[in-house]
């Protein structure tokens, strides 16, 4: 009986359409000294905002290389081979800059 009684209310509530506006508050990657962020902004913002990258702990150039390979092979990131040195340079500079707070 109880189940029957709550049924119409349940249907009504769950049936209302919903929408949401999301925005990118993380912003673009910024140049680090002489390491331009252009390659980062061109290659690393299509699937996630920048904080996915900037909040990582300091990684080695090897770990960053592996990350880029994962983005390409698993998630099909269209990253130009010619951009990779600039990406690794920026990421390595970013890691080098991080110090314990």
């Amino acid at each position: 009986m109880r189940a029957l009684f709550i049924l119409p209310a349940l249907l009504l509530i769950a049936a209302a359409p919903q929408s949401l506006v999301l925005s990118d508050e993380d912003g673009a990657f910024e140049d680090i000294a002489r390491n331009s962020a252009d390659a980062m902004n061109a290659n690393c913002l299509a699937c996630h905002s920048s904080a996915m990258v900037t909040h990582q702990p300091a990684l080695t150039p090897m770990q960053w290389r592996e990350t880029i390979t994962k983005m390409k092979t698993v998630y099909k990131a269209p990253i130009e081979a010619a951009d990779e040195p600039a990406l690794i340079a920026w990421l390595t500079a970013h890691s080098a800059r991080q110090k314990p707070d």
Binding site: L10, A14, S19, H48, H55, P57, V74, K76
Partner: protein, 396 residues
């Protein structure tokens, strides 16, 4: 004249201007604390898009053991891998049930509302909760300990939905996926599977409601999987497909990602390789202090209240102990009401401590007698953190 009290409430009501918080991770530790979009307030923003939002531990705090253990939805953590639709019309939504079944189906929410409805209070926790605290650090979402929440979920049992489609003999597993989708062709769609006997148990459900209202879009409207006692990776959001498999799921998200070493506490020596892995599954006991942050400087009082929330993993919390000397001696905490084996349970104690520096620890024990470890586990994925956390603080 505007009273100070009024002024404070006005300030609190305006959108938080991204005040930074330090998560205590060492490097790369600061995050904005913000109201990132409608329906979410004072969240630690780990990533804007797709959103990764962490709950500050203070949001779990209450000064009474009898207080609700449900996490307010506006403070509930958020975790998406891929972009997802930001407009949802529940009346147009369909869930397909296909694969190794006698009767493939396409079900509306109305069809599901006709099935018996069930309700559970259950913790939803990311498998990587606490990843940012791993030493040495590992890549991935850099959560502190707030990638979890407790809610009341309501909807039909998965079992009853599967029964409508009548799985064939030889059915092994159920693979669930939703409306979130990878932006580039060829990337693996997010899909997770449960063994058929697990999918057919009493508890696994398809939730249309969270904390007594329609499931919010950001938490997977119009319907998500709820797998009480198991990590959130299985709680597929915006569910639109159930596939019954006759062979093991070899998809990326089961066979490659969300895997941990097949060792006690899923732990290996940092840098180890070549170990066997298995998918992350059931949660482990945990407890967090909610009224004192690490590094807190508190005015001395005779009896310092220490309180928080605990979980048993996939069973009841049986006890919580508190130490003020980094784990050398322990005293039992008083427990709040037990809201079921999948819920947070509150605990509190009053500690009589001298002025000076102290290292607090809490240790939950579940009804199987499993307690939190004193040493942190380590694995390259940053999964299954369950260590008794050290909270250094000072009484001044």
């Amino acid at each position: 004249m505007i009273s100070r009290r009024h002024l404070l409430s006005v300030l609190a009501a305006s959108p938080a201007a991204a005040a930074p918080v330090d998560l205590g991770l060492g490097i790369a530790s600061t995050r904005p604390l913000a109201d990132p979009f409608e329906g979410k307030r004072a969240m630690i923003v780990q990533r804007s898009l797709p959103p990764l939002l962490e709950t500050p531990l203070a949001a779990f705090d209450a000064d009474s053991l009898a207080a609700s253990t449900l996490t307010p939805t506006e403070r509930f953590f958020v975790r998406w891998h891929y972009p997802f639709p930001t407009d949802i019309d529940p009346s147009a939504h369909r869930i397909s049930v296909s694969g190794h079944v006698a009767k493939p189906l396409s079900l509306s929410l109305e069809d599901l509302a006709r099935l018996p409805q069930t309700e559970v209070i259950a913790i939803n926790q990311c498998a990587g909760n606490g990843r940012g605290l791993f030493a040495p650090r590992v890549p991935g979402a850099q959560w502190a300990n707030g990638a979890m929440g407790n809610a009341r979920w309501r909807g039909p049992r998965l079992r009853d939905v599967l029964a409508l489609a009548n799985p064939n003999t030889g059915a092994l597993a159920v693979r669930a996926s939703g409306l979130d989708a990878p932006p580039f062709e060829g990337a693996p769609a997010f899909a997770k599977s449960l063994a058929l006997d697990h999918a057919m148990d009493d508890e696994v459900m398809l939730a249309t409601h969270m904390n007594d209202v329609a499931l919010p879009l950001i938490h997977g409207a119009p319907i998500r999987l709820v797998v009480p006692g198991w990590y959130s990776t299985y709680w597929v959001k915006m569910l639109d497909k159930l596939e019954i498999l006759a062979t093991p799921d070899d998809g990326y998200w089961m066979a490659k990602a969300y895997r941990a070493p097949a060792t006690p506490h899923a732990s290996v020596i940092p840098g180890a390789s070549g170990f066997a892995t298995r998918p992350v599954t059931a949660m482990v006991p945990r407890s967090v202090i909610t009224n004192l942050a690490p590094g807190a400087r508190q005015p001395w009082t005779q009896r310092l209240p220490v309180r928080g929330v605990a979980m048993g993993g996939d069973t009841h919390v049986a006890a919580v102990h508190i130490s003020a000397d980094d784990g050398r001696s322990w005293q039992p905490a008083t427990l709040g009401p037990d809201h079921g084996r999948h819920s947070f349970r509150r605990f509190e104690a009053a500690l009589e401590l001298p002025r000076g520096a102290h290292v607090l620890r809490t240790r939950a024990t579940n009804s199987r007698g499993e307690s939190q470890a004193m040493e942190a586990n380590w694995n390259p994925g940053g999964f299954y953190r369950g260590v008794s956390e050290a909270v250094p603080m000072e009484l001044v």
